[in-house]
Amino acid sequence: MLDLTYDTPKPKVISGAKQDWELVIGLEVHAQVASNAKLFSGASTRFGAEPNSNVAFVDAGMPGMLPVINEFCVEQAVRTGLGLKAVINLKSAFDRKNYFYPDLPQGYQISQLYHPIVGEGEVLVEMGDGTARTVRIERIHMEQDAGKSIHDMDPAMSFVDLNRTGVCLMEIVSRPDIRGPEEAAAYVSKLRQIMRYLGTCDGNMQNGNLRADVNVSICQPGAYERYQDSQDFSHLGTRCEIKNMNSLRFIQAAIEHEARRQIAIVEAGGTVDQETRLYDPDKGETRSMRSKEEAHDYRYFPDPDLLPLEIEQAWIDDIAARLPELPDAKKARFMADFGLSDYDASVLTADTANAAYFESVAAEAGDGKLAANWVINELFGRLKKDERGIAESPVSPAQLAAIVRLIKKGDISGKIAKDLFEITYTEGGDPEQIVEARGMKQVTDTGAIEAAVDEIIAANPAQVEKARQNPKLAGWFVGQVMKATGGKANPKAVNEIVARKLAL
């Protein structure tokens, strides 16, 4: 397998009024576990249900109700940890994080502050320009999601839906290893890709199944390297946390804005207050969440309703043995086995459905590189035009492989192949039969091409004269021959014959 090595990307530099500044970013990503039932109750996690219909009395915080952990959720946290090459803790424990909010009926969130289930790991974040950052993962813990408050249904009231309350989240906490807005977005994308491969989280950001809190601080060039050498945070600036963003675009915009806000404060001689802020996409700015500051004392303590969570090494080994091939390995394999470029391999491994489609085309066509070209340029392009996913592709891998085989054998030209692809896409059918039935085969019979060339030369003596003085004009004859043969003539043969007949 190829060992992929990358250069480290350059940190983003923002020029202030007085000097240059760098950014230091850490993320807390909340990923909803793709489970049927909630973390501690048997209520459904289904999105879009009637308000308050996916609610057990445990979720509603009714007195006397006891939480019972969903083992599938534990397994998904372990799988995710293994996917991030992280340490799995055989013993973890649940704590209560106490605060009052209408969408948290228990008055506390069950989380894992002191003993998370997953410890340190790492993620390779490719930037698409030949560079990649290794971002260290500090921990992953399981916790309950809160409910949903709707503020725009009534002028004086907020409406609360507890369907989400108690759904299992994995909070993935990174070290402050991210050095710019684009890196932050690429990091979240990579986590999403890995979790989708693992099937532990569907990664749907629009539905809020993947959200991120972003910690941003600024520092002078050189300070970050001193932090990395010493792991001493005093080299870094004071950070602000921007809460709960569910779009990659917002994450980037919020970081950019927040960094500029901090630079303006520091350059004016002020100091940045450590605080929690909200990003307002309409105004393109962040603002302080005052209420959060007041409630910052969460008075964590071990949840007396839950024994520590002990898992067995054999169980973890069994999960590890059943892990699918992950994006980095798949990409390296595609590059090694099919000779694909880094870019093509990245596109094809973006998700498992794309990768599986490509692999069947490549296997049946016997040419990975050509298959990759056709999958990426023709198929993906065409599907995008129709806003369809790979699962709704009207062209099956077998059909596309047949087209690729026809090109490879020289039976059809690249141009005809595009027509054939369009016919297969819109009308369906066996590409080989279509080529036969519609006479699309490439004419490699030099006799037939020679006849066509002779005919055109005879009919256009003036052009012949011009072409003899300026050989570049031979292209006109090639064009005429292609036209006369309906694009089926082998272009290489036509070029040769035209040149010979014109005695160029």
């Binding site: 039932a37 048997g42 019972v68 599938f72 009231m157 907020s158 609360v160 909200l278 969440m289 969570l309």
Partner: protein, 95 residues
Amino acid sequence: MSIDIETAARVAKLARIKVEPEALPALADEFNAILGFIEQLGELDVENVEPMTSVTPMRLPRRADVVTDGDQQAKVLANAPDAREGFFAVPKVVE
């Protein structure tokens, strides 16, 4: 550890319990009495003693990932002072 009046007021506020200012000194005294009682445990040597989490050796019970509960909107909302269109209705809380 000693709880002063200010801390007592803060704990009351975090717990959303209304305590009149004149009741705070007594509350602080009670906190101190409780904490003093618990601090006696500090006299014990617990070096190399695992924290006890349960009196009986027990494994945390697990459930399977099956939907067994829910679909009881009316019951869930039964105690709500105000509910509309299936939602709990609460005084506006907005950031």
